[in-house]
C-alpha cells in the first residue's frame, strides 16, 4: 500500500519536473526566431510545444542512459528506493524553479542529476555513486557540449556571412534567412523533445524498477512515454507566454543569418549526441551556440561578465540541486511521514516561488531567458563596411 502511494507520488513529481523542464527551456528553441521576427511569438511557442510532443515519441536512447549507470544498482551496489528518487526530484524541481525566478542560467538535466546524486549520497553514502560515470556522462559533457556547439556555430555563422557578403553594397538578401529559421528552430524544438522528455522517462522507469514493478533491462513503457510527452509539451506552451511578454527586454540584436546558424548548430549537436545516447543539456548547447554565432559576426566582442555569470550558474546547479535533494532525502528517511513533510515543504516552496514571480512580473531579471542572456555575452560593434582583401 505504502509502496504504491510513494510510486504514484514520485511519478506525479517526475511529471511536474518534466513540466518545469519544458517551461524552463522553451526559449532554447524559440528565443532566436522570435528575436529576429522569423515567427510570431504565439506561433513559435505553439510550434515548440507540438514539436516537443512529437520529439518525445521518437527516441528512447537517453532514457536508457539515465535509468542505469550513475547510481550503482543491482546485486553489487545499492537498491535505490522510491523515497530517495522522490527526494532527488524535489531537489531538481526546487532548483529549477529558483533559477527560473532569479533568471539564473541553469540546466534542467543537471538539476535532475544533482538532486538524484544528493539523495543517493545521503541515503547510502559515497559508495552508491559511480563517480567515473558521473564524470564521463555528466561533468565532461557539460564542459564539452557548449564548447562543441559554440565552435560549430562560430564556423557556421562565418560561412553564412562569407557566402552572402556583397562588396558592391547591393542588397545581400540575408532577410531570406528568416524563412530558414522557421525550419531550423523547429528542428531544435524537436531535438529538445527527443532529448529532454527522455530524462523524465528515465526517472519514472528507474522508480518502477526500484519498486519492483518492472525489471531493470526492460524498455520504457508506453504510458510513460505518452504522459512525459504531454507534460513537456504542456510546460513548453505555458512557459512560453511569460517569455513572450517580456522578450524585448532581454534579447540582443540577433540577425537572421546568425540565428539560423546558431539554431542549426544547436540542432545538429543535440541530435548527434542523442543518437549516441549522451544526455546533453540543451540549455548549455543552445547557449554555447548563441555565443559562438555572436563571435562569428564581424566586430563582436565577448562580454565576459555575462559569460562568467552564466558559467557560475552552470557550476552551481549540480551541487545546489544535490544539497536540496540530500536534505529532502534526510527527511524522507523518517518514513512515510517524512515523505509527506517533503511533499508539503516542496509544494510550499513551489507555490511561494510562483506567487513571488507574479508579484514582480515586469522586472526583466526574472524573465530573461538563459539563451537570450547568452546573446548578451557578445557585444557587436557597429560594423565597418566589408572590404575585399587586396592581393599584394
Amino acid at each position: 500500500m505504502d509502496l504504491t502511494l510513494i510510486v504514484v507520488l514520485v511519478i506525479a513529481l517526475a511529471l511536474f519536473f518534466d513540466f518545469t523542464n519544458g517551461f524552463h527551456d522553451t526559449a532554447n528553441a524559440m528565443a532566436t526566431p522570435i528575436a529576429t521576427g522569423a515567427l510570431r511569438p504565439k506561433v513559435a511557442v505553439g510550434l515548440a510545444a507540438i514539436l516537443n510532443l512529437v520529439g518525445a515519441f521518437l527516441s528512447t536512447e537517453v532514457a536508457k542512459t539515465i535509468s542505469g549507470g550513475i547510481i550503482r544498482e543491482g546485486d553489487d551496489g545499492v537498491f535505490i528506493t522510491p523515497e530517495l528518487i522522490f527526494a532527488g526530484l524535489i531537489g531538481a524541481i526546487v532548483w529549477n524553479m529558483v533559477t527560473w525566478l532569479l533568471g539564473l542560467p541553469s540546466s534542467s538535466s543537471h538539476a535532475l542529476f544533482g538532486g538524484l546524486i544528493g539523495a543517493a549520497l545521503v541515503g547510502f553514502g559515497v559508495q552508491a555513486i559511480d563517480f567515473g560515470v558521473v564524470m564521463s556522462k555528466v561533468i565532461l559533457p557539460a564542459v564539452l557540449a557548449p564548447l562543441t556547439a559554440g565552435l560549430i556555430a562560430y564556423t557556421a555563422t562565418k560561412l553564412a556571412y562569407a557566402i552572402t557578403r556583397r562588396y558592391d553594397g547591393k542588397p545581400d538578401g540575408r532577410d531570406g534567412f528568416r524563412h530558414a529559421q522557421i525550419f531550423s528552430s523547429s528542428l531544435v524544438a524537436l531535438a529538445h523533445g527527443t532529448n529532454d522528455a527522455q530524462k523524465t522517462m528515465g526517472v519514472i522507469t528507474l522508480t518502477l524498477v526500484a519498486a519492483g514493478m518492472q525489471s531493470s533491462g526492460d524498455e520504457v513503457q508506453g504510458w510513460v512515454i505518452v504522459t512525459c510527452a504531454v507534460a513537456i509539451a504542456l510546460g513548453t506552451y505555458m512557459g512560453g507566454w511569460r517569455i513572450i511578454r517580456t522578450l524585448g527586454t532581454g534579447l540582443t540584436d540577433v540577425k537572421p543569418a546568425q540565428g539560423f546558424a546558431a539554431e542549426t548548430s544547436t540542432a545538429a549537436t543535440i541530435l548527434a549526441s542523442t543518437h549516441l545516447g549522451f544526455a546533453l543539456s540543451t540549455t548549455q548547447v543552445a547557449s554555447g551556440s548563441v555565443i559562438g554565432s555572436g563571435l562569428g559576426r564581424r566586430g563582436s566582442k565577448v562580454r565576459w561578465r555575462t559569460a562568467g555569470r552564466i558559467g557560475i550558474g552552470w557550476l552551481m546547479t549540480l551541487p545546489a540541486a544535490g544539497a536540496v535533494g540530500g536534505l529532502a532525502a534526510l527527511v524522507a528517511q523518517l518514513g512515510i511521514a517524512g515523505v509527506i513533510i517533503d511533499a508539503i515543504a516542496g509544494a510550499v516552496v513551489i507555490a511561494g516561488i510562483f506567487l513571488w514571480s507574479r508579484r514582480n512580473e515586469v522586472s526583466h531579471h526574472n524573465v530573461v531567458s538563459e539563451v537570450a542572456d547568452s546573446g548578451r555575452a557578445v557585444k557587436i560593434k557597429r560594423n565597418p563596411k566589408p572590404k575585399r582583401k587586396v592581393a599584394p
Binding site: 528575436a35 557566402i163 542588397p171 548527434a272
Partner: protein
Amino acid sequence: MIDWFAFLVVLVSALVGATVVVIAYSLGIRLLTLSGRTPIVTPAEFTDAITVVTPAEIRQAEKRAAKAAKKSPLTEGQKRAAFVGAWACFTISAIAIILGVYLIVGEHVFELFG
C-alpha cells in the same frame, strides 16, 4: 573515462551536418540574389527587441533590390540558371535536414509503426 571516440563522432557529425545545411542555404540565398529576386522578408511581428521597419522602408528596400537586379550584368539565361541553382541549394539543405532527422528517428519510427 569518457569515450573520446564517441565524442569525436558527435563533434564531426554535428559540424558536418550544420555546415552542409548552412552552406547550401547561404549559397541558395546568394544565387537567388544573383538571379535578381532578392528576398525581402520582414519580421512577422515587431516584439520590443526588433527595430520596427516601416512600410515605406520596405518599399525602399524592394526598390533597391529591383534596381540592383536591373543593373545586373548577367544575361537572362544566366539569371535563370542562378534561380534554378538557388532552388537546388535550398533542396539540398532541406534534404540534409530530413536525412538528419531520419538518421536519428528512422529506426524508431519503423518500430512504432511495425
